[in-house]
């Protein structure tokens, strides 16, 4: 059974509309575990900045047959403006943002002249390296942390990125 974006969104909507804290679905060749994020749970009355109808408070999701042990999508009620800066967040359009885990220089390739790790349209798995952040000659590989397709690459190559700055937009699968 293949899981489509719509299916995930539908599941999230159900979880969001119920007081469920955790949900686990298992069928043949497929398992899905959905857990409400602590950040969202701890701020139940905080107003959402974008229109509420389009921005359900996102639960934490872990999906896939060979389930990665970590939740790959995490977002507070009001997206990137607060909460944990690094990691991924899923705003209104269903895309996931890969944020910079540290301040440093953003490099799209291993070295000059080498092909970029990913391009728009590339398929990534959670452990796919998407870029390098350099801090004082220390090269830090950044994994996608999510499976999906790269939709947008935000910073220019060799640009300084801040801690928590959005780097990539990914359509999750």
């Amino acid at each position: 059974m293949a899981l489509r974006d719509e299916d995930i969104r539908e599941i999230l909507r159900i979880v969001d509309e119920t007081p469920l804290a955790e949900l686990e679905i298992e069928t043949e060749g497929f398992s899905l575990r959905v857990r409400r994020g602590e950040a969202a749970a701890s701020r139940p009355h905080e107003p959402l900045s974008p229109p509420a109808s389009e921005t359900p408070r996102q639960p934490v999701v872990a999906a896939g047959g060979d389930a990665p042990r970590e939740p790959v999508v995490a977002a507070g009620g009001d997206g990137a403006s607060e909460g944990t800066a690094s990691g991924q967040s899923q705003p209104l359009d269903g895309l996931v943002t890969i944020a910079s885990p540290m301040l440093g220089t953003f490099y799209r390739a291993e070295g000059p002249g080498e092909p970029p790790f990913v391009e728009v349209g590339s398929h990534v798995e959670p452990d796919t390296i998407v870029c390098i952040i350099e801090v004082m000659k220390m090269m830090n590989s950044v994994p996608a942390g999510v499976s999906g397709t790269i939709v947008e690459i935000l910073p220019d190559n060799a640009q300084l990125v801040e801690y928590g700055q959005p780097l990539f937009r990914v359509r999750p699968q």
Binding site: A85, S86, L103, G104, E134, V135, E162, Y163, G164
Partner: protein, 461 residues
């Protein structure tokens, strides 16, 4: 120098932003995630988030700071105080990448950081040091302590700023504490060396403000008295030092300048001394290679902007004034308003400031990054504001500060306001008779603070 990277937070980051503005320099504040909305980050030309809230992942990362400074096109780094302000590593790393570091060169910082080496240099420069030296074995320590006379202080060579100090009143205390002191010094500073010094029971803490340019010109900007301390943390500071005789003052200032010249000191620095309240004798304690929290009292009485001076000196400019041109006008007293609760063992009290307003009074200056709605994060020191009163006479400055504390409005977090008022209103402080042990004794005795008769308590105030 065109653009300055400010590697700090809170009131001092804001203070540096203002000095940059005054000099026509651009500034970038490197802030942690929780300080993004802080006044310093919002006041700068640009702010970059260098890491998460805990200082170990942001303000204490010299690699991130240099990277951020380079990436934002800065040509200098101002470290403020605390965090990496006295890190030779940051200074060296900045220099390595062609950035100016606003402070003395790394070699001077290394010397100042090694309290034993600094002590030895002081002695060589003819500056009085307390009787004492490095000790190895317990037997050696005993012999030295008996030669000096009890009580003695056991100090860590890598310590400083009041950290790594233990008192031993007799031989058995010395035996018991020497090993612990050595072990703690190794753990805290990565340096197990300890030394023993004579302990002065009735001591005043007096420090000399020094400024030196790249050509080796050195001047002092008089002294400050910071004897109101709790656990070696200063609470109230003033300039000039009261109760210091004219001849003592002259030789103290001369000694500091002589010492600064001898070690090729550069930029701004503070040379700390302990003054024996009984005899007026002074002894060198340590050098602080940074702008101090209490610098405003010196600014008020000398009329000079020390942070702007720091930046100009870091840019290689000459001092631009002579010793004779540094004059004293009036008296200034500062107190540190902190988000901590004296009634609960000075427990830090982070939270959201509901109300925060400081009165506007002639002669009152308030250095703060706080405002209503500002969050006091749990990760950093609890300083909310520095209230500085400047008047013709010391008594007037004290009155003004008491009036300011009375009119201050702070809710949302507990503060030490009531304690500050108790200190300023005490007979001992008014008569300039307090020594460095006074505050803790007075607190313990219930003469001041939350246990005092008629105390209003610190909570909510």
């Amino acid at each position: 120098m065109r653009r300055v990277f400010i590697a700090n937070r809170g009131e001092i980051a804001l203070r540096i932003v203002r000095a940059c503005r005054r000099l026509g320099l651009e500034c970038v504040v490197g802030c942690s995630e929780v300080d993004r909305e802080g006044l310093a980050a919002r006041s700068a030309d640009r702010a970059v988030c260098i890491g998460p809230g805990p200082a170990g992942q942001s303000y204490l990362r010299d690699d991130l700071i240099v990277q951020a400074a380079l990436g934002t096109g800065c040509d200098a780094i101002h470290p403020g105080y605390g965090f990496l302000a006295e890190s030779p590593r940051l200074a060296a790393r900045a220099r390595e990448h062609g950035l100016r570091f606003v402070g003395p060169p790394p070699e001077v910082m290394e010397l100042a950081g090694d309290k034993l080496a600094a002590r030895e240099q002081a002695r060589l420069a003819g500056v009085p040091v307390l009787p004492g030296r490095e000790v190895g074995s317990a037997k050696e320590a005993r012999a030295l302590a008996e030669e000096i006379g009890y009580p003695v202080l056991i100090k860590a060579a890598g310590g400083g700023g009041g950290r790594g100090i233990k008192l031993a009143r007799d031989g058995s205390e010395l035996d018991a504490r020497l090993g612990i002191a050595r072990h703690e010094a190794g753990a805290a500073f990565g340096d197990e060396r300890v030394y023993i010094e004579r302990f002065i029971a009735a001591a005043r803490h007096v420090e000399v403000q020094i400024a030196a340019d790249d050509r080796g010109e050195v001047v002092h900007l008089f002294e400050r008295d910071c004897s109101a301390q709790r656990r070696y943390q200063k609470l109230v500071e003033e300039a000039p030092a009261p109760g210091l005789g004219a001849s003592s003052r002259t030789s103290l200032l001369e000694a500091a300048v002589r010492f600064a010249r001898a070690i090729s000191y550069r930029n701004l620095g503070t040379f700390e001394f302990v003054v024996d309240a009984a005899s007026g004798e002074f002894f060198f304690l340590e050098i602080n290679c940074r702008i101090q929290v209490e610098h405003p009292v010196t600014e008020e009485v000398t009329g000079r902007d020390l942070v702007a001076l720091q930046l100009r000196l870091a840019n290689g400019e000459p001092l631009g004034f002579s010793q004779e041109e540094v004059t004293l006008a009036g008296h200034a007293v500062e107190c540190r308003l902190c988000a901590e609760d004296p009634a609960r063992g000075f427990l830090p009290s982070p939270g959201k400031l509901e109300a925060f307003s400081v009165p506007s009074l002639p002669g009152l200056r308030v250095d703060t990054h706080c405002h209503p709605g500002a969050v006091v994060p749990p990760f950093y020191d609890s300083l909310l504001a520095k209230l500085i009163a400047h008047a013709q006479r010391r008594e007037e400055a004290i009155e003004l500060l008491l009036e300011a504390l009375g009119q201050l409005e702070v809710t949302g977090v507990a503060t030490n306001r009531a304690l500050l008022a108790d200190v300023l209103a005490s007979e001992e402080f008014r008569r300039a008779e307090i020594t460095t042990d006074w505050l803790e004794r007075a607190l313990a005795a219930g003469a001041i603070g939350p246990r005092a008769v008629g105390a209003t308590g610190g909570a909510g105030g």
